[in-house]
């Protein structure tokens, strides 16, 4: 028997299961896309006029602000996605189905990879949708084809890291309710960084946090790729945070998963 064949076959079975879940329970997926779109409209149409002038854009403040805020709003998408992933992992763990999977001769990591790949696909689609809405309401990026590919690459790295983080949170949670609260602090990170206003406008103590937290370099990299602003060290910091986060959260998840299997 070939382990590799089982790995591929079992992972794709688990992935199909995840997609069926999303079809049956679409409110979770709508939540993933709904929140960032609401924030986008809110920030552009309610605060956009004033904030756009405040960040030093020339001419129409609102038009300048769409361009400024879109990268941050796209990142908000991962928060909803992280919540959905954590909840679905926690629900799986509390129901007997995982125990059944464990008594079968399957490629064990497929239980988690099904969640990870399924969640990554929906999150990236959600992000594409958010960018689409932004384009409709006046987002005008200057990126060329190569830069767009780089944007897709950065987003994929970020989603990979956040998905493994949320798998770990889902495994660590006692149940679906607590799992749904755990990724919430992530929601604040784009706000406490350069997502909505430049960090220079913040008080010193907050600015210190804002500049060193992972979302700021990621936002700066995306903004640079999309709008042509300077990127500097942000690109390396982004790759570092995402790869490091993925590795740490992967091993954390694996150890939680193995621990929960032997109680």
């Amino acid at each position: 028997m070939s382990t590799l064949r089982y790995a591929v076959s079992d992972s794709s079975t688990m992935l199909r299961r995840q997609f069926l879940h999303m079809l049956r329970y679409p409110s979770m997926s709508l939540f993933i896309v709904g929140i960032p779109i609401v924030f986008l409209l809110l920030f552009v149409y309610v605060f956009g006029g004033t904030l756009g002038n405040g960040i030093g854009g020339t001419g129409d403040g609102r038009a300048a602000y769409v361009n400024y805020v879109t990268p941050g709003v796209v990142l908000l998408t991962v928060v909803g996605a992280a919540t959905a992933t954590a909840v679905s992992v926690a629900m799986d763990m509390t129901e007997g189905i995982i125990a059944r999977f464990r008594t079968m001769a399957i490629f064990r990591p497929s239980i988690l990879t099904g969640h990870v790949i399924g969640s990554m696909v929906t999150t990236l689609l959600g992000m594409a949708l958010v960018i689409g809405v932004a384009l409709l309401i006046g987002f005008r990026p200057t990126a060329n084809v190569v830069e767009w590919f780089a944007v897709a690459g950065v987003l994929t790295l970020l989603v990979l890291a956040v998905t493994w983080l949320s798998v770990a949170l889902g495994l660590a949670a006692k149940g679906a309710e607590s799992a749904s609260n755990m990724p919430m602090p992530l929601m604040l990170l784009p706000f406490l960084g350069s997502g909505f206003v430049p960090t220079e406008s913040m008080p010193t103590w907050l600015r210190w946090f804002a500049e060193y937290q992972p979302f700021t370099p990621i936002i700066e990299t995306l903004r640079g790729l999309l709008m042509g602003t300077p990127i500097g060290d942000s690109a390396w910091q982004t790759v570092g945070w995402c790869v490091g986060g993925t590795v740490v959260c992967f091993f954390w998840s694996r150890s939680l998963f193995n621990k929960r299997s032997d109680r």
Partner: protein
């Protein structure tokens, strides 16, 4: 010469504890192929833990364990390929339909598409789930979920099936349906390891019963053997005339007599030797017996005598 039947499950010195609480305290189990074995015990006796260990879900602390001819620690995947498990709390995927649940199992058993479809259709038919096949499992009744759960454990045609309290919480009719299904499975040659807290269930189904209490096996044998282990058995004798009744009452260890019906109840454990003694004594006194019936205690008596706790009914 007949060789002994091959064993489907053997456990020697199985131990498991959580912290300083000992759940299984060195138990020995032997289950012959093609039989139903019932592990009977009150809540918290360690039944589920035993199933979880034997089905590779959790590791034992100590013990020689073999399932389907494979060592549990060295070849867990070979064991997994041979077993089907049905848990106490139905382990079905609520978002998927009954059919999708079965097809999911077929895929994880690496059956090809046509075979998976064929087995799923056959099981839906066998478990009376055809009408509900395309509805999500979340909408199923308790009995339907349990049937789906069992059906999922049968995909891939396992040789050994673990049933952890398969009828707990079911209404009497669903319970009888489940019993019928279990009997049909054994008729097909599979081995069943059943846990239950219902004496009647063990009595009805099992070839051999082990009584588990506080992590220890307190008795093991057929239902009849277990019933003979406790005192309280008696023999009823019916006589043709009052003289015979009087004489018998004098020479035997009488528990009660009924002069109108000419019935006498005497203490006797029901063994062949004790019965022979009883009949010899009646012969010696020239007493004729019209009818004789042996009453062994039921499993309730056994349970009470051996565990000191009331069983749940």
């Amino acid at each position: 010469m007949i060789s002994p039947p091959p064993m489907a499950i053997t456990a020697t010195g199985l131990r498991k504890s959580y912290g300083d609480q000992v759940v299984l305290d060195g138990i020995d189990l032997r289950v012959a192929e093609g039989t139903i074995f019932a592990l009977l015990g009150p809540n918290g006796a360690g039944k589920t833990t035993a199933v979880q260990i034997l089905s590779t879900l959790i590791r034992a602390e100590a013990g020689q364990l073999e399932v389907a001819g494979h060592d549990l620690t060295r070849e867990p995947d070979a064991v997994r390929a041979a077993i089907g498990v049905t848990g106490q709390f139905a382990a079905v995927d609520n978002f998927l339909t009954g059919e999708e649940n079965l097809r999911l199992m077929a895929n994880l058993h690496h059956l090809d598409r046509a075979e998976g479809k064929r087995q799923a259709a056959g099981l839906l038919e066998q478990f009376d789930l055809v009408d509900a096949a395309r509805k999500p499992a979340a909408t199923y009744s308790g009995g339907m979920r349990r049937r789906l759960d069992l059906a999922m454990g049968l995909v891939g045609q396992p040789r050994i099936i673990f049933l952890d309290e398969p009828t707990t919480g079911l209404d009497p009719r669903s319970r009888r349906t489940m019993w019928q299904i279990i009997r049909e499975l054994v008729a097909g040659g599979v081995t069943i390891f059943l846990t239950t807290q219902y004496l009647e269930e063990a009595d009805q189904l099992a070839d051999r019963i082990a009584l588990l209490d506080h992590g220890k096996l307190v008795a093991e044998g057929t239902a009849d053997e277990l019933k003979r282990m406790v005192p309280g058995g008696h023999v009823s004798l019916r006589f043709g005339d009052p003289w015979a009744l009087d004489t018998a009452a004098r020479v035997l260890d009488t528990l009660s007599r009924d002069d109108d019906e000419l019935l006498l109840s005497v203490r006797n454990d029901g063994r062949v030797k004790s019965l022979r003694d009883l009949l010899d004594r009646l012969d010696a006194n020239a007493v004729e017996v019209d009818e004789l019936s042996i009453h062994t205690p039921d499993l309730d008596d056994v349970f009470l005598a051996l565990t000191g706790t009331e069983s749940e009914r």
